[in-house]
């Protein structure tokens, strides 16, 4: 009897009485809570678009300083100074280890050719570090994950279209990391301008075949698909960041105050910050981590291993020929 009796879909049966294995979720949770979660986010965009402010607003704490050039005799920063800042935020007993990677100097110079190379290299370096740790014979039980899970790309709110440098960078980035485009400083666009701008941006991204997160996958159920569709309609998020509080109706909220109006960052009618925050932290955090591990890392890994095999095969051939 060589045929296997395993059918494609095992039948679902319910036990006669309560067994109790549904507490596995709690066991996992307990384990994970002890370990803590790791999330690495990278911000890419021109200087002065409010990247640092937005990160601080997202996580409601002062995590990074704005790196604008204040004195006239300081040289503008180079993209070679990519560093990761680590913070640990605790909320309700859940520890989130946050790595924020800022990319100073992107698009700052007069000649910006190749300014995306250090960024892509950094991302690939993280993948390769993880791969190396995985491939060692005696590897740690839990490999620290420095791979970039999400890349927030800041778009200049011109109201027209994307700039050539933006398209070039997006194309390169979408191949190696989850890219979430964001319209920065969206308080400079009225609602109609914002709608038109979003349409144009999405049309251009589609035309250039840039894949944005969230991706469609088969194992998503109806609800999640709907959620993804809604997110896709809203991309790119038009956000406003602020660390300072203003008083609206007697309550302090984060916002910006002008002589002619007050913007409430958390108001849905003013900007889409709430959606971005929910998307990043409340609904798709796990998804981002998983997609990085399963899709981007896997493709990187397979490419690397194939290349390794080829090079070792060539080396073997060479030694075989020489001997």
């Amino acid at each position: 009897m060589a045929t296997s009796m395993v059918s494609s879909q095992p039948e679902e049966i319910s036990a006669a009485s309560y067994v109790g294995f549904d507490s596995i979720t709690r066991q996992i949770e307990h384990k994970l809570l002890k370990r803590g979660f790791q999330f690495n986010v990278m911000v890419v965009g021109q200087t002065g678009l409010g990247k640092s402010t937005l990160i601080n607003t997202l996580f409601a704490s002062h995590l990074i300083d704005s790196k604008g050039r204040i004195e006239p005799d300081i040289q503008p920063r180079q993209t070679t100074e990519i560093h990761a800042l680590s913070h640990v935020i605790v909320e309700n007993g859940v520890r989130l280890k946050l790595n924020i990677i800022d990319t100073p100097g992107y698009g700052d110079n007069v000649n910006n050719e190749g300014c995306w190379d250090p960024i892509v290299k950094y991302i690939k370096d993280q993948h390769s570090a993880y791969l190396r740790k995985e491939l060692t014979a005696m590897r740690d039980r839990h490999i620290p994950d420095t791979r970039i899970h999400c890349c927030l790309f800041f778009i200049n709110p011109t109201g027209h279209t994307l700039k050539p440098i933006d398209i070039a960078v997006l194309r390169k980035l979408a191949e190696v990391v989850n890219v979430v485009p964001v319209i920065a400083k969206s308080d400079s666009l009225t609602l109609e301008e914002r709608a038109i701008f979003k349409q144009r941006v999405m049309a251009e991204l589609q035309y250039n075949q840039i894949r944005l997160f969230p991706f469609d996958a088969d194992e998503l159920d109806e609800e999640e698909l709907q959620l993804n569709d809604r997110i896709k309609e809203m991309l790119p998020f038009a956000v406003v960041g602020s660390e300072r509080s203003v008083i609206i109706d007697g309550k302090p909220v984060r916002g910006r105050k002008n002589r002619w109006g007050v913007i409430n960052v958390e108001d849905e009618r003013h900007c889409e910050f709430i959606y971005l925050r929910n998307f990043l932290t409340r609904t798709h955090l796990q998804d981002l981590i998983e997609t990085t591990a399963q899709i981007h890392y896997e493709s990187f890994r397979s490419k690397q291993l194939l290349a390794l095999k080829e090079s070792s095969a060539k080396a073997q051939q060479a030694t075989a020929v020489s001997t």
Partner: protein
């Protein structure tokens, strides 16, 4: 304008020259002296006279120092001069060329439309270069040209992105220079760029390298007016800080932006206005060519957001009013003057020097054609005489040489002649000897000379 004037021509001079200059050739009793009068500045019209107009003229002398101020005995009427200039310039119309530079999407087209309250052109990505429009207000015609610079700073590699702009400005200067050098200069069309409005992105930090590079290259060629675009993105304190940083950046790199000049004898109000304008540079502007409803029910030009309405014409909201004031209402003529007197002159000097044209002083000396001819003839004759002398010298030299040579050969000939003579003499002697010997007795040795060769000379 002066009140209570009436047309009273006194034969005391008509104005010559364009509005703003005031060099009048007064038709004084002594016709050939050139008097220098003070330029009629837009501020005040000092009452003074030339000594020549009063009858005591200094014939042929050019007033080098300040002419003496004199009070008039009665009303003469040349205080009407500004009105005459005004009428003439209104008839001719004004010309203004503005250039807008900045990255795309900063609202350049919208700001131009807002400034001149008309839809001069549609905001899109490819407007025609150098749009010419003539607009009219209260009988004053303005030929306005707006030069747009699409694509500036939009590429990945923006090196030399200012080059087309610099080339355009210099080409306009060149065209004007050529017009000036024409034989017939009646129709001078001034297409030079009078003002360049540079749009700065509202990052909130400081100037970007491309901004600094551009401004460094252009501040000597055009009046630079930096503005902060889309200023509704920033709160008030952010704007203040940003302006400070921009100004310190500009000072650090030695960039000269357009400063409205201050005159001493202006009235209080103007001085205060000027100071206010200067304090707001660079202007934080917002542009809008559509009408929206403000919260208190008015229809205003502005932008409507869910959290408020920003009014373009409200001084509290943005600096648009100040920009318009400076650009159109008060300083348009200053900009044009500065372009003509300073920027264009510098360009011209540099260009002519580079071409090798130096200041030719002899052009200004008085020339008498007869004397000049005599001079030339004398010069020519002198040259001929010199040539002649030279040739004579050469000739003499050659003659001497030849003589010396001939002498030498003569001497040589004589020498040879004597030698030959001696030789012959000797031979004759020998022959005579032999003859005697033969006659005296036969020698035993046969002489080789038995065959007597007779070569005696004359024997």
């Amino acid at each position: 304008m002066s009140e209570g004037y009436y047309e009273h021509s006194n034969g005391n001079g008509t104005t010559n020259g364009t509005y703003g200059e005031g060099r009048s050739n007064a038709a004084s009793p002594n016709g050939d002296s050139l008097h220098n009068s003070r330029a009629i500045s837009p501020s005040g019209y000092p009452v003074k006279t030339e000594p020549g107009l009063n009858g005591n003229a200094n014939a042929g002398s050019v007033q080098a120092q300040q002419p003496a101020r004199k009070k008039l005995a009665s009303w003469v009427g040349f205080s009407n001069l500004p009105n005459q200039v005004h009428r003439r310039s209104v008839r001719r119309g004004f010309q203004f060329v503005a250039m807008v530079v900045g990255e795309s999407g900063l609202g350049k087209s919208t700001l131009i439309n807002t400034l001149f309250e008309t839809k001069l052109y549609q905001p899109k990505n490819v407007p025609a270069p150098g749009e010419d429009r003539e607009i009219e207000e209260n009988g004053v015609r303005l030929k306005l040209t707006v030069v747009d610079t699409p694509g500036f700073g939009d590429f990945v590699n923006n090196d030399e992105s200012w080059k087309p702009i610099v080339d355009n400005i210099e080409a306009r200067f060149d065209a004007y220079l050529e017009q000036e050098n024409r034989v017939n200069r009646l129709k001078l069309v001034d297409n030079r760029v009078h003002a360049c409005i540079y749009f700065i992105q509202p990052t909130g930090h400081s100037l970007k390298p491309i901004d600094i590079e551009f401004m460094r290259r252009l501040h000597t060629k055009v009046n630079l007016i930096p503005v902060i675009a889309k200023a509704d993105t920033m709160t008030d304190d952010e704007i203040v800080l940003f302006k400070q940083r921009i100004l310190s950046d500009i000072a650090h790199h030695g960039i000269r932006i357009f400063q409205p000049p201050q005159y001493e004898n202006e009235d209080e109000e103007t001085i205060q206005e000027n100071e206010e304008i200067i304090s707001k540079v660079p202007f934080a502007v917002v542009g809008s060519d559509t009408l929206v409803n403000s919260p208190d029910g008015r229809q205003v030009r502005g932008r409507a957001y869910p959290w408020g309405v920003i009014e373009v014409d409200n001084e509290d909201h943005c600096d648009f009013v100040k920009l318009r004031q400076m650009l159109v209402r008060t300083h348009m003529e200053e900009l044009r003057e500065h372009t003509n007197d300073v920027l264009y002159e510098n360009y011209r000097t540099d260009k002519l020097k580079a071409m090798g044209v130096s200041q030719d002083e002899t052009v200004f000396k008085e020339t008498n054609p007869a004397a000049k001819q005599a001079e030339e003839r004398a010069l020519h004759e002198a040259k001929l005489a010199k040539m002649e002398a030279e040739m004579k010298m050469v000739f003499q030299q050659k003659v001497q040489e030849k003589e010396a040579k001939l002498k030498q050969s003569e001497e040589e000939l004589y020498l040879r002649h004597r030698e030959m003579k001696d030789a012959l003499e000797k031979q004759r002697q020998e022959l005579e000897d032999k003859k005697r010997r033969i006659e005296s007795g036969r020698p035993l040795t046969p002489e080789k000379g038995s065959q007597k060769k007779r070569f005696g000379l004359g024997k």
